[in-house]
Symmetry: C2
Subunit: 553 residues, 2 copies
């Protein structure tokens, strides 16, 4: 049956591989939550489906269930009260291992067909997933729909296509004939089998519970590995729906649904035990550096793919579009209240100020004008709420409260009452000024709407600082504003050295913190912020091994 | 100038990529040391070139030289007395880092041209390299020529071609256009740069100082990384010649020769300091598991590619070509006195014996007939010497002396005087019988001409044992003899699970311990014997990162 699904989705997979190669714009999953694309009933059905979970036990029918666990706390202050099965880790690993051989035997095509079908169903259920993402992560509705639905599906399909291509690129059969002078040639038949490494653990984060999870999830599954999906304790529902959809398709296809299971681990040491289980052979992780580093140091039996914290910087040397630059930067720090691993934390400005199309601007001018640009952007509360979303975690609320001591407050963070969600934690961005020497202030990740305008001695010092921060503390994104080609070139060289993606003179409707599947690589894997990239060849190549056999013919 | 070299070697690279895909027989480097292919003068010139090094300082002109070191001890008992520059590790790393940006700027094509040229020159110097390999490793002449010369060059070209392909598969430029309803589309220009991880350390072994070194060396260089080549203390000369050839081509091309340097480290702690240097970003290692595991555990700043020890097994269930099977096995254990990481250590035979074309053979029959087959193969001293070579290390000599206590001696190892090299350490294979329960005897690597005929309860237990050994102790090769297709199928399934290459019913002139570049993957990277494979996509994919930049257009 999975052959039928492969036939059904083959053109999509081939188109996705093409897109990965070309890196031009492409997506099969419409990003607009419009009735024209998703159907007149989709919005209402999605909302109803989401609401049907609330206050209930989430049905998954997994082996080894020992209890139930819930307690997700919505940043919007909405009670969720969904309870998820807690299963014995040993039994989860054993069930996954038992499901692996049949999953292996389906081969790259059979698996790709099933996974593409699951992505299509997830796409049809984008409204349902979007509500789950919004209510758990604190994202505003439009972002929850786009990043939680179609854009996450894009990243999943991208990983699936990359994994499918990497396996199908392996020749499966060969006849090896070695000439022997005048004698008969030596002849060997050979077969080459791509085989998954073993059980994969995929650990999700609270802010992007689908977008950051789907790459590892689909890459691991596509390469023949059963997956235990361990969601963040505050964002279980989007993962549970994803697992349910996958198990539904597997079951329909007569495949053991234990190829994918939800691994709810109420306590960190349960996650640690799972991560160091000898049967777990790969781990995908998105989240803080402390636990990520713990995984890298301790889960030595597994290949670890980690997206960690970093300090993203933008260097401002000069611009010929001052207002547009400030507007772009204001949007960047406001979007989801800076709770993206790609948000700029430090804007580095020379002490002597910058040349612009509106004349020379001093360092203080830039600070004041940036603050003003944020005020302008967020002046209309409706726009503000559409952009900001809610603060995902209490830790971030505390960080915002604590941060003013780290510099001179250029723009204070204010709570913003939400017309619909009374108990929502909404805060506007905090902007701080500080000197480059105040490294303790800005040179560690301050996750949330906390940004620094860092005063560097001069423009060259700004590049050197940006480079050093990325090399020492990691960075997923960097930016530069300059009208001088040689300065941009120097920043490009620094970006190669520090292995961080660079956005140059962004003044329009593309932002340094956004990356687009099939075109932008998310992270490089080359500095402390990550050891892997969505989705390059290395992200999939090591998830399977090629096992050969040969005999005389 | 490197553009010219790329043009010169482009067809070769394209053909090599084709060969990697097809996995049929191919090699551009003739394996026969024949005057017809290498020229009438090649043999004499190669020998003279080799002899010109003896008793002298090897000229490399590297930075930071602090002294000289030599002392290679030839297993043939021939004095070498070559002295190599010892350079300050900090200066080596700094010089490599300084050479990297220009190496980076040459791009995948420019680097591939230079490296293909170096391989061609190494091929022309195959006789010289073969003498160096023979005299340091103890290999017999023909193996030293083939494995040390053309076959090593094949493996180098394979890695080069794989690395070149992986980088050129990355789209370098894209125009990203995202439709915006009726408005103008968003348009971004994007550039994608493959960038090496950083300084690579390549650590060679004493038995195959070129064959096991060239994959990592050429993969690391091709992906933009400068290389420090650290040879085994007893096999420096082949590495030094290789480095000299590479530096010669680099210099001719106006490229800083410090892209490749020889890192002679007289003491293990000097190697350890180099391996854990923060500037060293990848390590290729071939050798014992103890130091390999130390590297994996301690060189955490680097990506480690390790080929370690294992326990290779062959399961014998039945055969329709008893004599040919025994002859094939005898050749396997005799070739280079079993000093190949791919040599079978344990032949597992059911206690009840096996069915053959010569009737049923008891376990004891198999033991005796195997011993006899070795005696027959080695009866002619000329053949014996051509096959056995010399014992590379004193440790192996001691292991042979110590091994008889590990089981019942079926065939004793004897020293064999060499007509040409009086002081050569030559020993014939030792064959021991033991029960499967004597795990301490056969279940750890006994490097050298020491093999066990292990008595298993039955055929199914033999498969289970073979599988468990590979999973727990690692294996690079495995074999099966059976006339029952369902038994072979079960062994195939076990090989997938244990991720070990399987040779089925080898009775002709192909041996379980041989792997052929462009067709056979050497190691899978999927069990404790290795964490990487020559040359799959994973072997090259993670040696570079893709760094992008983008701007509005």
């Amino acid at each position: 049956m999975s052959t039928d699904l492969f036939a059904r989705h083959r053109a999509l997979l081939e188109r996705a591989v093409q897109a990965l190669d070309a890196r031009t714009h492409w997506s099969p999953y419409p990003e607009s939550p419009s009735p024209k694309t998703y159907g007149e009933e989709a919005a209402a059905q999605g909302r109803a489906a989401f609401q049907s979970y609330l206050g209930k036990d989430f049905p998954l029918n997994q082996p080894g269930q020992t209890g139930l666990h819930g307690g997700e706390r919505s940043p919007w202050g909405v009670p969720l009260d969904v309870r998820y099965p807690v299963c014995d880790p040993e039994q989860l690993v054993a069930a996954a291992q038992a499901a692996m051989p049949a999953w292996q035997r389906l081969g790259p095509d059979g698996r790709a067909g099933i996974l593409a079908e699951a992505l299509q169903r997830l796409n049809q259920r984008s409204f349902e997933v979007a509500h789950a993402v919004m209510m758990t992560s604190g994202q505003a509705w439009m972002m929850a729909f786009q990043a939680g639905g179609p854009h996450a599906q894009d990243r999943g399909l991208e990983a699936l296509a990359g994994a499918w291509r990497a396996q199908t690129a392996v020749q499966r059969e060969a006849l090896w004939e070695k000439p022997q002078g005048k004698g008969e040639p030596l002849r060997m038949a050979k077969r080459f089998e791509p085989v998954g490494r073993g059980v994969a653990l995929v650990i999700g984060c609270a802010t992007f519970p689908t977008w950051n999870t789907y790459p590892g999830l689909f890459a691991a599954l596509a390469t023949g590995n059963p997956v235990l999906l361990k969601p963040h304790r505050d964002a279980i529902l989007p993962a549970a729906i994803t697992v349910a959809v996958l198990r539904e398709v597997l079951t329909e296809q007569g495949v053991d649904p234990n190829v994918v299971m939800l691994a709810v681990a109420p306590l960190r040491n349960a996650t640690q035990a799972l991560a160091t289980h000898p049967g777990v052979r790969s781990i995908d992780y998105t989240g803080g550096s402390t636990f990520g580093q713990w995984l890298i140091d301790n889960a030595r039996q597994a290949q670890v793919y980690a997206e960690l914290a970093g300090v993203n910087t933008v260097v401002i040397e000069s611009t010929d579009a001052y207002r547009a630059m400030l507007k772009n930067m204001a949007f960047t720090v406001s979007l989801y209240s800076g709770q993206m691993c790609t948000t700029t934390q430090a804007f580095i400005v020379p002490a002597g100020g910058i040349d612009t199309d509106e004349g020379h601007k001093s360092y203080d001018d830039v600070c004041a004008d940036f603050a003003q640009a944020i005020d302008t952007l967020l002046a209309d509360p409706k726009t503000a709420h559409a952009l900001l979303g809610a603060i995902q975690s209490e830790d971030t609320v505390r960080r915002i409260a604590d941060a003013p001591r780290l510099g001179t407050v250029v723009r204070a963070s204010q709570p913003l009452p939400h017309p619909e969600f009374e108990a929502a934690r909404v805060q506007t961005p905090l902007l701080l000024a500080c000197d480059a020497r105040d490294e303790a202030a800005y040179m560690e990740e301050r996750f949330g709407p906390i940004s620094f305008i860092v005063r560097a001695d001069d423009a060259d010092a700004a590049i050197a600082l940006s480079r050093r921060i990325a090399l020492d503390h990691g960075a997923l994104t960097s930016g530069v504003y300059s009208t001088r080609p040689e300065f941009v070139d120097a920043m490009v060289e620094a970006s190669w050295d520090a292995k961080v993606a660079l956005s140059i003179n962004l003044t329009g409707a593309v932002f340094v913190n956004q990356s687009s599947a099939f075109s932008d690589f998310h992270a490089t894997g080359g500095n402390p912020a990550s050891n892997a990239s969505y989705t390059d060849a290395a992200f999939v190549a090591n998830r399977f091994r090629v096992v050969q056999r040969r005999w005389h013919v």
